[in-house]
Subunit: 422 residues, 2 copies
């Protein structure tokens, strides 16, 4: 029987691991320069916090950990898994950030820009491209109610995409308040807003006709489909507050939200130029915690989003007991790694020393140490009869030069280097 | 009620996180140069592998994860926690490496130098300095039966300590075969070797008298205490094979093992100089899987070891079904972070821009982006009445310069910089 990693989880071999670490290094360096500060939280959180309603549907996917020292009697007396469990593996980095902020806010600056990277775990049914452990990469600005938070977040995320060499991405943006104004003006009662938003979110999949059909099935009669028509037909007025407000119900509150949206996008475009940001009135970003701006990065080579986020003023403070404004954005790390070109890692500083079995160990090691101390990455390889296979292996592993050494080579500066061709 | 991280686990605030990441970067860069290749394995492994007897006592400390979708009926029918669990969090990186090697050996070079870093979890009773999640940092050479593996491992680990600026460490070394020869020559039967080694390992704590006393209580009569006396009295013959063999029972097998020990230490000392490596005949390194060389780094400022390892030829192949020689060393990352000096992270490239509320967002952001693009780390701070508190906060957070900006500042090259004194 084959020995494999646990179902739905991955090993990373050296070349893949180097590539992932390389992408992560660019992301980290960029976010740090933009003033986001690195934090780390433990993989396990108290189950009660993970299941406190902030994680939406993901709560159901959490891996739960046995209480320690469970006895047969404990098990006999329990009727639900929760009675046997007190900890869970985090399913995202937002719930842990909210808990972290509540635990440590006294030691943090008034406006805290958090950069939070790490694995998360979801007990999803394993399938192509879905894994049960994957890396999330979040930035959040906590304590800033003004649009500066949206602007800083978007400029930092865009800069990461630039530095990684991702071309052709675009950022769909909207505002949750505009959506609520639209629904209200169509005569849809507050109690049905979530149902309506879930349906609206399916526009990509089921089309305008499908959305209208589903709304009619799910909502009580009496709402106006006319009000929804421009939105469903893919109206694109650009970033003009009055035009946006007109599409989204036309209320003063809609004009307010549209003005704010155009204002922060305007600053970003003022700095980066136009063409990357697109107003999408049907962008919903799931249910739940978003209270204002929402954004989602897309890429033509990907069927799924490259990252998303928004303003969620009510949530970070939930564990703290006071409201704290916040804007967050999560880059889809696994998807970024997927779409980036796979560069060869071969480099002139990555060299191999090929020695004969029975060579003087001290001699070979001295050559290695000389090369290490001059900045090389050095692999020792015992010579084998099949030299061709040996050199091919080195090319696969990213080595660009090799030298066959024996006791006559005393100085690493004068070795018989052989260039390895890929 | 205070909101805290889960019991026995830690949050890392930005300054601590930066420090840890900095130490890890030095470790990684050094090991990579020495030819060790980075791998990653998932945090969760099949429980059956974690509990296959390779983890010693640590197996008992594993966090076990509920099977998904447990029902009341599943719980009613179970009598042990294991029946309700199929996955566990890894308690070390050695069992996952053995599993990784078995899963992926076909894609790895014949001699594989693995560099494996990540968190591990142990359900220990939380106490000062003991955490339930901590980082391990392992290197292993798999597939090399010769002393080159010991030499490469020790030179790489010593280089890491050098580059981190750790001074005054020493490496205690021994060989498990010498210990077994010693016990055999004292007339202690194979069945009692483990008991005898556990007692010998307590020499530091209970002294020579204590060890002899405990041996007499635990072993059957008839073994020779005279043979053990030189070892217990702290004999130090240096790295002389015949002298070492004489102390450790005097057999030909002991001479063989002593010759090998002196040979690899000799190569390391030939390159690094003498004085760091010390033969310690009472070094045992726990039970279990070690089959030859064992080593343990100590530091005068630490009561516990700074890292340890050894040769374990029988274990890596356990999941594969064939024997594969291996030497491993694990640096104690948490302890390294503890003993390293806490440098200030203040740097001339870490700057703050202080703006007045109501300033033009676009203007402030343009200044920030100019500084980011010229390699600065930039934090925006809204001006508050209490400027002193504001600047003190920036110093604490590692900022060395700040500028108060308004709409008159158009160019980031000519800002009214103020040096912040720590």
């Amino acid at each position: 029987m084959a020995v494999t990693s646990a179902r739905g989880m991955r090993d990373f071999l050296p070349r893949d691991k180097e590539r992932r670490d390389g992408v992560l290094a660019v992301i980290a360096e960029t976010y740090l320069r933009h003033g986001f500060e690195p934090i780390e939280t433990p993989a396990l959180e108290d189950l009660e916090r993970l299941h406190s309603g902030l994680g939406g549907d993901n709560e159901k996917l959490s891996f739960q950990v046995h209480k320690r020292g469970l006895t047969a009697e404990d098990i006999a007396q329990a009727s639900t898994p929760e009675e046997l469990s007190d900890l869970g593996l985090r399913f995202d980095l937002t719930v842990p950030l909210a808990r972290f902020y509540a635990s440590n806010h006294g030691a943090l600056p008034p406006v805290f820009r958090s950069f939070h990277v790490g694995p998360v775990w979801r007990a999803e049914r394993p399938q192509k491209g879905r894994y049960r452990q994957f890396v999330q990469c979040d930035i959040d600005i906590v304590g800033q109610s003004e649009i500066l938070a949206e602007v800083e977040t978007m400029l930092a995320a865009a800069d990461v995409l630039d530095r990684l060499g991702v071309a052709g991405w675009s950022m769909r943006v909207n505002d949750r308040r505009l959506l609520l104004e639209l629904l209200a003006s169509a005569g849809i009662n507050k109690d049905h807003h979530n149902t309506a938003l879930i349906t609206l979110d399916k526009l990509d999949k089921i089309g305008a006709e499908g959305v209208l059909q589903e709304l009619k099935e799910r909502l009580p009669e009496g709402f106006s489909t006319e009000v929804l028509t421009p939105v469903l037909s893919g109206v694109t007025p650009g970033f003009d507050p009055e035009a946006i407000a007109a599409v989204m119900g036309g209320s003063l509150a809609a004009l307010d939200a549209a003005t704010q949206l155009c204002s922060w996008v305007g600053v970003v475009e003022d700095i980066r130029g136009q063409g990357e940001f697109v107003w999408d009135p049907t962008l919903v970003r799931g249910m739940g915690y978003y209270t204002g701006s929402i954004m989602e990065a897309t890429h033509p080579n990907l069927g799924v989003s490259l990252g998303g986020g928004g303003r969620y003023d009510g949530m970070i403070g939930r564990f703290l007991g006071t409201e704290v404004p916040a804007v967050g954005f999560s880059l889809g790390f696994e998807r970024l790694v997927e779409i980036l070109p796979t560069d060869s890692v071969a480099s002139p500083t990555r060299v191999a020393l090929v020695y004969e079995a029975g060579s003087d160990v001290s001699h070979v090691m001295k050559l290695k140490m000389q090369l290490v101390s001059t900045g090389h990455t050095v692999r020792l390889v015992a010579g084998t009869k099949n030299r061709r296979a040996l050199y091919e292996r080195l090319v696969v592993d990213g080595f660009s030069r090799a030298a066959e050494v024996d006791d006559s080579h005393l100085d690493a500066e004068h070795l018989p280097w052989r260039e390895l061709d890929a």
